[in-house]
Amino acid sequence: METPLTQHIQPGRGPLSLKEFENAGGFKGLHKALREMKPADVIFTVKGSNLMGRGGAGFPTGVKWGLVPQEAAGSGMKYLIANADEMEPGTFKDRYLLEGNPHQLIAGMIIAAYAIQAQKAYIFIRWAYKKAEAILRKAIAEAYEAGYLGENILGTGFNLDLYVHSSAGRYICGEESALINSLEGKRGIPRAKPPFPATSGLFGQPSVVNNVETLSWISHIIENGPQWFLDLSATGEGGTKLYGVSGRVKNPGLWELPMGTTVREIIEGYAGGMQDGYKLRGIIPGGASTDFLVESHLDIPMDYASVRSAGSRLGTGTMIILDDKTCPVKFVHNLIKFFADESCGWCTPCREGLPWAQKILESFEQGTAQPEDIGILEHLTRYMGPGNTFCAHAPGAMEPLQSGLKYFRDDFDRHINEKRCPWR
């Protein structure tokens, strides 16, 4: 089984130096792109691979790049931004790539910047990722020294500067337009779209924001071609995926597996199944903002289309397991409290609605919830659903709430009837 993204990552050993990465053939895709391909050819190849954004939304990467005006560099500034603001509860995949193979990300960013003809690139990294930040800064310095960054890269006349920006907190900065505002030194509030960042992004210039895992793929796809990438997956969506499992399983962790590996294989095969004395009750498949899956979904493939048809989203592909000794209402309350805390406050439904939902959930835990509170929560899931808010934050929050009410309704009812949390 091929594991292109993680093949050079070994636990207990630091990342490859630039020289080691180069000797392992890590820059082949970069040489090929800059020396043999036109920017439009790079975009065409990535489009052909069907690489979909690995940050959670799954937007086709090549299509995103194709929306950027194609004028050559020099006719006005364009920007590329790596979104390394990993903060989705339950998600720990980008940290692994940042700490484990920084040059893979940098090589991908140089190719991506060449494709859209960006002259400046930023890595927007979460403040808490101190080790990753130090590793990245060192790797970038190596890349400048070796002539992979700066002026006239590889003698091709292409120029690129790459900077690291360490954030100051707030989940919303993972949303690409909020990230752009934050990178401009402002409050991290999402922007109205259109215009999309591809035409008016950072500092009002055409910009592309891509996730770390997405960008880490680019040099591999250029080197080996789109068909190779498509053949890696189990179900045709292309590539491998970093899947993670956390919670009461025997062996929590992260694995690079063919896209479309089944939920069961990941949880039972790789994560070792549930710890003794614990039963599986629910699965949050890809971060806090994805609907619950339950036991009957164990045999679905973890790819975008299959998880969507099961009523959820692949998201980041890192699952949180809800066990039978954790109160589902408390679990949902934890998620909604997180979203309420992290609402940027810009639009009213999210700013007011999320704390309202949180207070109701708290009343369930305290045993003071009333029968009509179920209906109010259900109303709120629609009120803050897609299309009613400024960005995807509140609709994302509603996903585990609406599916929690669906799958764990009996547990909600018990809190009302028994006037207490049955798990306490």
Binding site: P89, R95, A128, A168, G169, S246, P252, T326, N334
Partner: protein, 154 residues
């Protein structure tokens, strides 16, 4: 007034952007690094340096969770309160630290040694429960070795 060190470090960051104001968050982090927190005076200092109004700088400072507009202790403990850590026992970790230091979330110990705050998912869920103290990540926590961890921070 900004110290020479602060000014130099801020200037370094402004070079990464087309205009000085874009370095506002970097500047807040730099000044906080030197002074421990962001006072009203610090807001004024940064505003003057970056050609922004004090209100603009304050609006940014109060938005971000890792910018402290109140004094904090010499060490800041950030306990992850995300779902995986909750399942794996973060509440008892919090309770243990809270009892030991006699402070709750948002408070600073009487000797100014520790401030205790909650933090969103630290991205270390396969080693839950986790917490950060200052820049250091501590994971696979058990109540048995929390004392030992705290001892490292004076």
């Amino acid at each position: 007034m900004l110290s020479n060190h602060e000014r130099e470090e801020i200037l370094e960051e402004t070079r990464l952007y087309p205009y000085p104001g874009a370095a506002c968050i970097d500047a807040l982090k730099i000044v906080q690094h030197h002074r421990g927190w962001i006072s009203d005076e610090a807001i004024e200092d940064i505003a003057a340096e970056l050609e922004l109004s004090a209100a603009e700088v304050d609006s940014v400072a109060t938005f971000y969770t890792r910018i402290y507009r109140k004094p904090v202790g010499r060490n800041v403990i950030l306990v992850c309160d995300s779902p995986t850590c909750m399942i794996m026992g973060s509440e008892s970790v919090y309770q243990y630290i809270s009892d030991k230091l006699s402070i709750r979330f948002g408070e600073t110990s009487a000797d100014d040694r520790f401030t205790l705050l909650p933090i969103t998912c630290l991205g270390d869920c396969d080693h839950a429960p986790a917490l950060m103290i200052n820049d250091d990540l501590h994971n696979n926590l058990t109540l048995g070795h929390i004392d030992e961890i705290l001892e490292k921070y004076r």
